[in-house]
Symmetry: C2
């Protein structure tokens, strides 16, 4: 190991002196106090999480989503956070809260969301909104543990299975426990805290912009702390400075108006599966390359710092390939996952047409549908993606309609597609890695974790960061806590308990020690 | 209209004299007698059909398929046909029967099948095996008619909805009614009749070859009359001289072993839908062209007579496009349907991966499956199709397995496909159009129908004709009776009642007048 130079040591000493002058307690002190508090309250913390997970939380479920908001607001109020619900018509409320710290110069806005992805209950072991405690992962043969049998110390490798256990209620409970721990340890907050919990993030945040505009006066702050997403696949903490944007589309192609015998009509009456398969192959190869003309024109090149951050992240490729049992990756053989997610992506989320297996019949389906999501990078916009895709389809001779075409339209149109774009599209957002606030978050998080953390220029997933970075002109840094193998967006979503413990310590460290 | 030459008239007079000498009654006489019998027994005939349709008849449903065989045998016995069940282990029985006619020189073997395609009950209006009488097509707003309200004369545009109403129980009931009508009218059969009713045609006739070999001694005859399939789309009667062969395959591609967030893993973890879509596009374009190397090498060129038969068939393209509401056909714009089915076909019968619509989530599916059926023409064989497809896939770097691969196999294999070929594949079969027996069937059918009929070199659909033509070395001519819009192989299969009436007259004419 290289010996640090005297100059560097002097600089570091000066930094510590400055921190002490600000009354910032050392990382180890905060960590030990928070850890002791957590150890004494494990069951209580997990029960609070379970309680929060017991109500269905799909954004479109108006009645239940409001129950979720009320529960989250009550949770914050119990910590002395002054809460209110921010409303715009037709949207689940924002749970907003403030907790001032005397003498703090900076204000940090904590973002999380209390809604979750839709579920297909048939694919779950157990029920999505009846949290199940398990002593191991389902695929590793984990068994259910009765909640009534829960006692401290809890095995930190146990998991809580439920929709939103990790995405994104864990950070809410993590923040609450961090506040409790700091209060119990009499550690003051180094920043003023504002809390902003969204209720329709998984629906694409269709009202977030109007909410931010309406309540801009409340939302002044020096940074947003985005608490969503998973930690690094190496299980190290990571912080991220951007998120990809998103849009999505569903495309339906049509055959005859009734299912036809494939022998009597095949080669003559169009097969909508063949049509869509050829369309897909013309838009994306099986290595992830997007073949649509001009699609890459809007992509902002990476900075040197971003490239370096990716290159120095631990290489979790081999371990992850093994865990996921994949025999290849889509891009170049040596492309890192962290690099792959810096590219725009066209993902096929579903394709349905005709029948397979026992139900398959020798017939031509009447229609087929493909569902696609696009992940956008700076400086792509959903509008330009949409116009490029539609121009591509029209260039192939297609007429595009948004409603279900009737028989007359189907007959009159040689090449016809129904194209429905997702509501809730938004572009990517990114905060520079070299801002003082960026470096401060990295430093505090790393010191709390006690090991180097991963810096990601952008998260692969999508959160509407651009509204904070571009609309509110406020830096955003993401500090996720969920395990990477949390089955996010899928069935059997789960949270590894150690990740919640780490999250509590991280959020406590940021609240107690962040300064720049 | 061109006046017939004296020479042709003389020839025709000689032909009539020869027929009279053989005791063959004129076409008009037979037709009128049969029609009168039918008119007096409409309700009885339809009730017999309904009774035959009331038992589930999927070949794999061992218990019920045997009930179907017993019912079909009883139906024949009631007409004085000496019946027996021909058995080989593991197969539904063949219902076999004989009815000799004193002095007849020729023996005709009547083929039909009593099993039906599998059903998806959720897609049916009503239940597949509870026959429903309707006063019009469902899509035209047809209403159910109580069976108890049925009385003569029945509107011949009414329909019977049930699995196998047309495919292929209508010919069985049509034959029975034809025998009844001829007996009532005291018209003798001009040929000896053998009946051969198969019970697993829709499962691909896996035991037909061994049955024909085992019972070859019973099955001596001068021709097979294949009673399956629909009449021409113009509603004219048609006869066919061949049938395409068939094989099918289901191909599954794999992603990670769990569903992954498309943002965090897209572009890196393989998307099985993208993989299959690209595979399909590489095998077949959206105009029906098969792109697999060497696939067309085995295709026997058409004869001049076959081309002429197609060219002189009525052009039902425009009417059919309108009925089916299709805006284009797959092949060249001017390609006739009758020509399209002379080509080999690769039909996509199903594609399933991930979810679409409300259930769609922004994730990468764990697997995707495509189901394909191939229609073969002379001289293709299922074995060569299989080897060409597999060579094509291997040429793309794929490892092919037949069982579900475990995680270890998925991890170890960069490109892996599960490939399952259908049981019950067989090649095409074709009888020359210019044989005396071929001309005799065309003549009798046309005279009975009272108008020119369509001659199809091959049926688009598949029946195991090759076993008769190639194994038994016996000519085969197909005489179907079902309406073309019968929803064969799909939900809401139906039989237009006029087609049953026409079928009775046709089969009666062939039994009473066929001679060569």
């Amino acid at each position: 190991m290289k010996k640090p130079s005297t100059a560097r040591l002097t600089l570091f000493a000066a930094f510590l002196t400055a921190q002490a002058a600000q009354g910032v307690p050392p990382a180890a002190v905060v960590r030990e106090k928070v850890r002791a508090y957590r150890a004494a309250h494990e069951v209580e913390i997990l029960r609070e999480l379970a309680g929060l997970l017991a109500t269905p939380n799909v954004a479109s479920d108006t009645e239940n989503i409001r129950k979720n908001a009320d529960a989250a607001a009550a949770l914050l109020s119990r910590r002395g956070v002054r809460t209110q619900l921010l409303e715009v018509p037709g949207a689940p409320p924002i749970v907003y809260g403030e907790l001032s710290s005397p003498g703090a110069r900076r204000t940090v806005i904590f973002y999380a969301h209390y809604d979750g992805q839709p579920v297909d209950p048939a694919k779950w072991t157990g029920k999505p909104w009846q949290p199940v405690l398990r002593d191991g992962r389902l695929e590793a043969g984990g068994h259910d543990v009765e909640w009534s049998a829960l006692k401290s110390p809890v095995n930190p490798e146990w998991l809580v299975y439920a929709r939103s256990a990790s995405d994104d209620k864990a950070p809410i409970v993590g923040l609450a426990a961090a506040l409790d721990a700091l209060k119990a340890a009499k550690v003051p907050l180094s920043v003023n805290l504002k809390v902003f919990l969204e209720g329709e993030e998984e629906a694409g945040s269709p009202h977030l912009q109007s909410i931010l505009e309406k309540y801009r006066y409340l939302l002044k702050g020096d940074m947003w702390l985005l608490c969503d997403g998973p930690v690094h696949q190496s299980r190290r903490m990571q912080v991220f400075f951007g998120a990809r944007g998103i849009t999505g589309v569903e495309i339906t192609a049509y055959g005859a108006t009734r299912r036809l015998h494939s022998g009597h009509y095949g080669n003559w009456s169009p097969n909508p599966i063949a049509e869509l398969a050829n369309l897909i192959a013309g838009m994306r190869d099986d290595r992830g390359n997007i073949l649509i003309k001009g699609f890459a024109d809007d992509v902002r090149p990476l900075t040197e710092g971003e490239r370096r951050a990716v290159a120095t992240a631990p290489d979790i490729g081999p371990a992850l390939r093994s865990e996921l049992a994949i025999g290849r990756t889509e891009g170049a053989a040596d492309e890192r996952l962290e690099a792959a997610i810096l590219r725009p992506a066209l993902n096929l989320r579903g394709f349905q047409g005709g029948d397979v297996g026992e139900k398959a019949t020798n017939s031509i389906p009447t229609e087929a549908t493909v569902s696609i999501d696009f992940r956008l990078v700076p400086d792509q916009t959903p509008e330009r993606v949409r116009s490029r895709i539609e121009a591509h389809l029209r260039g192939l001779g297609y007429t595009l309609v948004s409603d279900v075409p009737d028989a007359a339209a189907r007959k009159a149109t040689p090449r016809l597609l129904r194209v429905r774009w997702d509501a809730g599209s938004y572009p990517s957002g990114r905060t520079p890695l070299d801002l003082p606030v960026s470096r401060a978050v990295v430093r505090v998080t790393s010191e709390s974790f006690g090991a180097p953390i991963v810096e990601l220029p952008t998260l692969g997933g999508s959160v509407p960061m651009y509204l904070f970075t571009d609309l509110l002109k406020t830096p955003v840094v993401g500090v996720p806590i969920a395990n990477h193998d949390n089955n996010q967006h899928a069935s059997n979503e789960n949270l590894r308990i150690q990740n919640l413990w780490d999250g509590i310590e991280t959020y406590a460290a940021l609240l107690a020690r962040l300064a720049w």
